[in-house]
């Protein structure tokens, strides 16, 4: 059986876009954690600007009509919204397959059982590390890790499948074997080993997070061995991080081809990080139907297909394999979102970012800037120098 990620449902290569497959609904930017690599924008949506329950319900109906199959309720922390249960129920009623992407720290067993009853199909819980002290330092939450372990246990007890999401970087990659063991012990079906992607908050914290080449090589070997050992028990998703790659990732499966993101205030984005590209204007579900936005929103059409590409992408034989990589990363590193993603060896900036990564991995300070609504707060200086 073939996987839709690697085709049949994908639009033909020469067509600029097809039917959307899945949508990330970031229903709030509020979150009890302050992870320094958060994928939310630096300028976050305040609670007062969030879509109402009724607005989300209308959006969910529109998504189903548009051909969307799966919805990922995310944030911020989606369980910070008191109407999450109603939204999941609505997704079920319109036939969407629903997934909850959560930190887990606000969940209770009763709430998980109610979400199960409302038709939730899958839970993904993020972990900052396997060691409690390190995990709580990264998330800046004193009891975060213990609460996550509890939430993961309840997830399985109520009968929901669990994915453990572990965001990895220089300061926790040494724990990868323990993270894998933890996922198995929690009876997870899947483990996502997600290397930090450097835009937004993570770009602010790049020097504190960038892994070394040696760490990446070791991680790749650890994953290879674990995959064989755990076949049929734990599936492991793992992708080599961009700065050490030779080919760029086919980001989002291509800009505006099959996926989109809805922000807490209702902006429709081709990628969750798209607001980091300054100058782009995103249309809102408050002003237009989703069908209109998917087809006509200028921000979507800007980088669809291949006509927008400059060299070296324009004449590249692989231009419809990777669509020039990630627009947000191209913007963050070159100042122009249309440029070739510097993760590509053909980008004039490729060598420069590779050297930057090596230098920051070797010399970068390990002090974090924590994510919050006031533009970030530096981690307090510590007297011991064991970091």
């Amino acid at each position: 059986m073939t996987d839709a990620k690697s085709d049949p449902l994908a639009p033909a290569k020469s067509t600029p876009f097809g039917l959307p497959l899945s949508v990330l609904a970031e229903i709030t930017h509020r979150c009890p954690l302050q992870c320094p690599y958060c994928s939310n924008p630096i300028e976050m949506d305040r609670a007062a600007s969030e879509l109402s329950t009724e607005e989300w319900q209308r959006v969910l109906h529109e998504l189903a009509d548009l051909g969307v199959l799966q919805i990922h309720f995310s944030g911020g922390e989606p369980t910070a919204r008191t109407d999450l249960l109603e939204l999941v129920q609505c997704a079920t009623d319109v036939g969407l397959y629903s997934n909850l992407i959560t930190s887990g720290v606000l969940l209770t067993k009763d709430r998980l059982a109610a979400l199960y009853q409302a038709g939730l199909s899958h839970v993904q819980i993020s972990f900052q590390a396997s060691d409690e002290t390190l995990a709580n330092r990264i998330g800046a939450h004193r009891r975060g890790h213990a609460k996550k372990l509890e939430a993961a246990k309840w997830t399985r007890e109520v009968g929901l499948p669990l994915t453990v999401n572990a965001v990895v970087h220089r300061q926790n990659l040494h724990e990868l074997p323990d993270l894998i063991d933890m996922a198995v012990a929690l009876d997870a079906d899947r483990l996502e080993v997600a290397n930090v992607q450097y835009y937004g908050w993570a770009l602010k914290n790049r020097a504190a997070l960038m892994p070394s080449e040696a760490q990446i090589e070791e991680a790749t070997a650890v994953v290879d061995t674990a995959r064989k050992r755990l076949l049929g028990i734990l599936e492991i998703d793992y992708v080599v991080p961009d700065y050490y790659a030779l080919r760029p990732k086919k980001c989002m499966g291509g800009w505006g081809r099959q996926f989109f993101n809805i922000s807490p205030a209702g902006k429709v984005l081709p990628c969750h990080a798209a607001e980091s590209i300054t100058g782009l204007v995103f249309d809102s579900v408050r002003d237009h139907s989703l069908a209109w936005i998917w087809e006509h929103s200028p921000a979507f059409n800007l980088y669809r297909g291949t006509d927008w590409m400059p060299e070296p992408c324009r004449s590249c034989a692989l231009r419809e394999e990777d669509y020039g990589g990630c627009r947000c990363q191209a913007f963050a590193l070159t100042g122009n979102a249309a440029n070739t993603d510097p993760a590509c060896a053909l980008s004039p900036q490729h060598d420069e970012i590779f050297q930057t990564a090596r230098r920051e991995a070797a010399d970068g300070s390990s002090r974090f800037i924590y994510r919050n609504f006031i533009g970030g707060t530096a981690e307090p200086e510590v007297e011991n120098n064991d970091r």
Binding site: G67, L69, Q70, Y97, G232
Partner: protein
């Protein structure tokens, strides 16, 4: 999981069933059957769709293979090989469970 077991090795008497989090759905917009799973959308071909419909927790592998062999007038050994390969692959991904409850 209400009598459904995960991480299974298929045997002839295994009664396969789709777990709650794996949904076989006819998609009207794309006019085809799809298998929805966590973070995945699989596209079964016609035969696979037929096999998946037979995974109802009542029929054993032996029974569903016999049914398909009779319907298509095809050698049972061949169908057995294909069906087991397909279902074991799904089971390894966690997308197929085994009904361990007694049949009333």
């Amino acid at each position: 999981m209400n009598g459904a077991r995960r991480h299974i090795q298929l045997a002839l008497d295994t009664r396969p069933i789709l777990p709650r989090h794996v949904k076989l759905k006819f998609d009207k917009q794309r006019e085809r059957w799809l298998l929805l799973a966590p973070e995945r959308i699989l596209v079964p071909d016609e035969i696979a769709v037929e096999v998946l419909h037979l995974c109802d927790g009542k029929a054993s592998i032996a029974a569903l293979v016999a049914e398909l062999a009779a319907k298509y007038d095809a050698p049972e050994a061949e169908i057995m090989r294909d069906v087991r390969a397909m279902l074991q692959d799904l089971a390894d991904k966690g997308f197929l469970a085994e009904n361990t409850e007694a049949i009333p």
